[in-house]
Amino acid sequence: MKPTIEVSHLSYDYPGGQRALDDISFAVESGECVGVLGPNGAGKSTLLLHLNGLLPEHPPKEPRIWVENEPLTVKALDLVRQRVGLLFQDPDDQLISATVFEDVSFGPRQLGVNGPYLKSLVVSSLRMVGLDGFEDRQPHRLSHGEKRRVCLAGVLACKPSVLVLDEPTSDLDPRGRREIKKLLQCLPGAKIIATHDLELVVDLCSRVLLLDQGRLVKEGPTVPILADEPLMLAHGLEKPHVLLHRHPHG
């Protein structure tokens, strides 16, 4: 099976010269759900921005990322951004329009979609996230969970083949978390989730990438890595409650 996303020897320095990503390589297969873990400042969000072509500011001549075999170069930037749907951590950064309809239609409009098809696309995207009838609502009147789901609808409306989610459950109450988790379980396609919510990772992700100080320190199946307490503690994380009584190799 050909990988949906392939990253090969990716490195990146912040403008100040500090190393953010150091020689990262991994691949994500079609339909796979991969968790990206690590302490604050590990480079998780920076990595996600790279997958969408938002970093570095000018993509390198020699590509380091391939999306469905398309190398991420300046020429392929638009195509890659359509294929990789990125959900940002703070919904207020992503919700830019005066109404929910306008916001969900923002991406498709950039792709040249208009008229009745645009309307049906918005309606179906909102239905997918369980927000039927929210078209005329104003983003600043929504709850945090609703805002996040509108953001997700805006991403889904672009019909991406990979969903890249940055802390999808942060700042959500248990009900909001449950709703987002259920929603993500139902969505097709590959998913890459950067999060501190380890229970979500156990429930959704078959594989995890553990980052620390910009380096990929461990990669593999979710349960053995998350159940390895010394490894988790060494990288600023904790063994999740659901795995407390499970041995990493048992």
Binding site: L49, N52, L54, D78, R81, Q82, G85, L86, F88, D90, D92, D93, Q94, L95, I96, S97, A98, T99, E102, F106, G107, Q110, L111, Q138, P139, H140, G154, V155, C158
Partner: protein, 217 residues
């Protein structure tokens, strides 16, 4: 945004949020009229007022009477319009004062004040009777340049976000401010303004990235 900080030392976050409310008011006969028609009428009125003589004249009674009738029909509360006119009045006066250095200065000074107030009143009436997103929809249909529409939409979208953020910062500062001396309070306020500016720049960067992620060029 500095207007946000113009209040006294006491926290009036909620009041400020209400002042920033850009939504249209409660239903009235004017609310049912199409946004396009209302926008066209408002533009005709504004252009008409701007082209009126540069001196106090009985001609100003025509737009004033039209606006008075529309005001009554739109059921716009006096407090709503009074507050907003007060906010823009210093700017109007600052511009009008400049005309005092020209020949026929007094006539132009009074005309500038009358014209500006009537124009602002027209726009406030439009804002009261028409949801902002409907005005944007009409402007898009009229093929107003996209960058201008995006700027307007972003302004509308992020005013409440910034107001909330400044409110949170003021509360946090107040919880650690143990003096009611005016100098201390103003110094804190200046710190909040600077912080808010930096946060706004950061947020603008993140918003830009989020827009690019969805194909914005």
């Amino acid at each position: 945004m500095l207007a946000l900080f113009a209040g006294r030392s006491r926290l009036r976050v909620h009041t400020r949020m209400q002042c920033l409310e850009l939504e249209s008011g409660r239903p009235s006969p004017l609310h049912g009229i199409s946004a396009g028609l209302k926008l066209a009428l408002a533009l005709v009125l504004v252009v008409g007022i701007a082209l009126s003589p540069r001196r106090p004249d009985v001609l100003y009674l025509i737009p004033a009477m039209i606006l008075a009738v529309l005001w009554a029909l739109g059921r716009m509360p006096f407090i709503y319009i009074g507050k907003r006119l007060l906010v823009v009045e210093p700017f109007i006066l600052a511009i009008a004062v400049l005309s005092l250095f020209r020949p026929e200065s007094k006539a132009i000074f009074y005309a500038a004040i009358i014209k500006s107030n009537l124009c602002v009143f027209t726009m406030l009436l439009l804002a009261w009777t028409t949801p902002f997103h409907e005005i944007l929809r009409v402007l898009r249909r009229l093929r107003v340049p996209s960058p201008m529409l995006t700027t307007l939409a972003l302004m509308y979208r992020y005013l409440p976000v910034l107001a909330e953020e400044s409110g949170r910062m003021q509360r946090a500062r107040a919880s650690r401010t143990f003096s009611r001396r005016r100098r201390v309070l103003w110094r804190n306020l200046a710190g909040i303004a600077a912080q808010l500016f930096i946060r706004t720049v950061d947020r603008a960067e993140r918003i830009y990235l989020a827009m690019c992620a969805r194909g914005w060029k």
